[in-house]
């Protein structure tokens, strides 16, 4: 007798092997049997006409904050994601001393673009250590979590604010290693670092002030337990990225660890980058290095306004300085003729490309409530031509009219060459990830990359088979990250299961949701799913198409590898 039988589904077991029609039996939160006609159970789910697959693992998220108020990581679950990995890019929310909360919050909100009102309203700081953070989120956890310890936080804990300015001493390196061990003991899956991020004051994040000796020492700790390192490299230039891949390979080989970086991003502004990176990855894989790139499935569009910094301006120092200066100062700059001219001119330069194909003239006005409302949907180039103004001046004028609340959407920023991406998503040194779930919430919907894989690359482009797509999202990621007991539909594994219609599973349109914990003060962009029948975590149904999310809370801090 099983607790649950999923009957007559098309079983994709995560191995990539051909699917077959059969039953999946669940008992005590685990898969107990897979085969034909399994008999009776407390609950029967008729899965005929549906694919039955292991829950997907999202390896690149920033759900650290959201998980404190939403243990379901909505709406990722309805896209089949049953395990999330937060704490990427050197930024987690633990370990963190109480006196550093305000600073780290500002850094996190800036880099991951989380509205301050939501962050402040949603987070009740009940932890300092990684173990305490995990204890906090597991009180109401409906999704599995494999948290990373952020290198910047480790440095902030040990060096204090000097972590922003200097390398560590040998004694501090030992303290950092001890702290990382404590985090791993407390449930961290591995560590993340960054070679690219800048904080709210446009300074490198603390991880970037580490020495290579410090990084090696920390990787040695990861190697003691076969735990992974995630990092954000200089992803925007082919020779820089290839060189950083060489460095990653040496770390992997020296310490016997899996190293994964994100993103591997394709765009017209970086021709040859993906090919150069893949060539380097293949060379090092042949040596035995375990280095994988993360690649997102979706093309990148980005919505922004002039009230805060957006990544599209990160190559433009005058824009960055202006947008960091505060509401009144921004308005003052937009009214000042000399500054306007400087800002307009800067949008035409290419001083430090960051792989985004950003063209202001093709950027559209996407939201305005005043007189500019009539121009919503038009490009700044079109409006500028009509007004005899530079597109940047149009953007500044409309923003002034709208008290900086007008929104603009830059489309086609990159990752839209489906033929090239379809091949890459199949590559053994590339994993599907880099989706940024829970971050950049007012820029674009970071949810639905999994369902988009099926609609775009399985059904439309036929770049992957159904079985291969499932494997890529489950078993492959579990193996790369050393996640134990998940990622396959075989007896003994956790019963994290998705049941979806392979002919209709897709992401819905991007929509605004006012569900952040600040009582509607801010919004986020989300995408709902279509074609997902049911999602189970630990054998309990957490999402059903007909009834939405349930009260089941079987999520866990997942177990990492050990030596």
């Amino acid at each position: 007798m099983f607790d649950l039988i999923i009957r007559q589904g098309r079983i994709c077991d995560g191995s990539g092997a051909p699917s077959f029609i059969g039953d999946v039996g669940v008992r005590d939160g685990r898969i107990a049997a897979v085969g034909p006609n399994l008999g009776e159970a407390g609950r029967i789910v008729d899965a005929s006409g549906h694919a039955v697959a292991p829950g997907f693992i999202d390896p690149h998220t920033h759900y650290d904050a959201q998980l404190t108020w939403d243990g379901l990581a909505q709406p990722s679950l309805e896209h089949g994601v049953t395990t999330v990995i937060p704490g990427n890019c050197s930024l987690s929310l633990a370990p963190l001393r109480a006196e550093h909360r305000e600073f780290l919050g500002a850094v996190f909100r800036q880099i991951e673009e989380m509205p301050k009102s939501a962050f402040d309203a949603g987070i009740e700081w009940t932890w300092e250590s990684m173990a305490e953070y995990n204890e906090t989120i597991t009180r109401d956890l409906g999704v599995n979590v494999a948290p990373l310890a952020g290198h910047s936080l480790l440095r902030l804990w040990v060096l204090g604010y000097e972590s922003r300015d200097r390398a560590s001493t040998p004694e501090e390196v030992r303290a950092l290693c001890d702290l990382l061990r404590e985090c791993l003991d407390g449930g961290a899956l591995g560590m993340s670092t960054s070679f690219s991020d800048v904080d709210h004051e446009f300074r490198p994040v603390p991880s970037r002030l580490a020495s290579m000796e410090e990084l090696n020492a920390l990787c040695a700790v990861l190697g003691e337990r076969n735990r992974p390192l995630q990092l954000l490299p200089e992803f925007w230039a082919a020779d820089l990225l290839a060189t950083r891949i060489d460095i990653m390979a040496e770390l992997s080989l020296r310490h016997g660890i899996s190293v994964t970086f994100s993103p591997l991003f394709e765009s017209a502004s970086t021709p040859g980058l993906v090919e150069a990176a893949v060539e380097r990855l293949e060379l090092h894989a042949a040596r035995g290095a375990r280095v994988t790139a993360q690649m997102q499935t979706r093309p990148l569009d980005m919505t922004f306004d002039m009230s805060q910094v957006s990544a599209v301006f990160s190559a433009m120092p005058t824009w960055m300085g202006t947008l960091l200066s505060g509401h009144e100062a921004i308005q003052g700059a937009f009214r000042d003729p000399a500054t306007r001219e400087t800002l307009a001119r800067e949008t035409e330069t290419d001083r430090m490309p960051i792989a985004l194909d950003f063209h202001l003239s093709r950027t559209r006005l996407s939201a305005a409530t005043g007189s500019a409302h009539a121009d919503v949907g038009r490009t700044l180039g079109e409006i500028g031509e009509e007004r005899g103004l530079h597109p940047a001046e149009v953007m500044m004028d409309i923003s002034l009219e709208e008290d900086l609340k007008a929104r603009f959407t830059a489309s086609g920023l990159g990752h839209y060459d489906d033929a090239k991406i379809g091949v890459a998503l199949n590559h053994p040194q590339i994993q599907i990830g880099a989706g940024d779930g829970g971050a950049h919430v007012q820029r674009f919907a970071t949810y639905g990359d999994t369902s988009y894989l099926f609609s775009r690359f399985v059904r439309e482009r036929k770049a992957l088979s159904l079985e291969r797509a499932v494997q890529r999202l489950s078993a492959d990621i579990a193996e790369i990250w050393g996640i134990q007991g998940r990622g396959r539909l075989i007896p003994g594994q956790a019963a994290d299961i998705t049941i979806f219609d392979p002919e209709t599973f897709d992401r819905g349109p991007e929509e605004m949701a006012f569900d952040l914990p600040d009582a509607g003060e801010s919004f986020r962009f989300i995408r709902r799913s279509t074609g997902m029948k049911e999602v189970l975590v630990g054998g309990e149904s957490v999402y059903r198409a007909e009834s939405g999310y349930s009260q089941a809370r079987r999520g866990a801090i997942v177990e990492g590898a050990s030596r």
């Binding site: 446009f202 970037r208 020495s211 230039a237 820089l240 380097r280």
Partner: protein, 66 residues
């Protein structure tokens, strides 16, 4: 291919020592003054102060391939 068979780097590079600036690095690199070195490393030369170079940065010590 064995782990010891590291491929030649696409471009030779070094990491700055803690506290090292452009002058000191140029002193370590034959045939390169500060301006030349910066021209090979626009990703660092364009970085706004106060943090100019960090110990994990990649500093190329030869020009890009033609």
């Amino acid at each position: 291919m064995s782990p010891e068979d590291a491929p030649a780097p696409l471009r030779r590079f070094l990491h700055p020592q803690p506290g090292e600036g452009w002058e000191e690095i140029a002193g370590r690199v034959a045939d390169a003054d500060v301006a030349t070195l910066q021209s090979w490393n626009l990703h660092l030369a364009m970085r706004p102060p106060p943090i100019v170079l960090t110990p994990v940065d990649i500093v190329f010590v030869e020009p890009p391939a033609p």
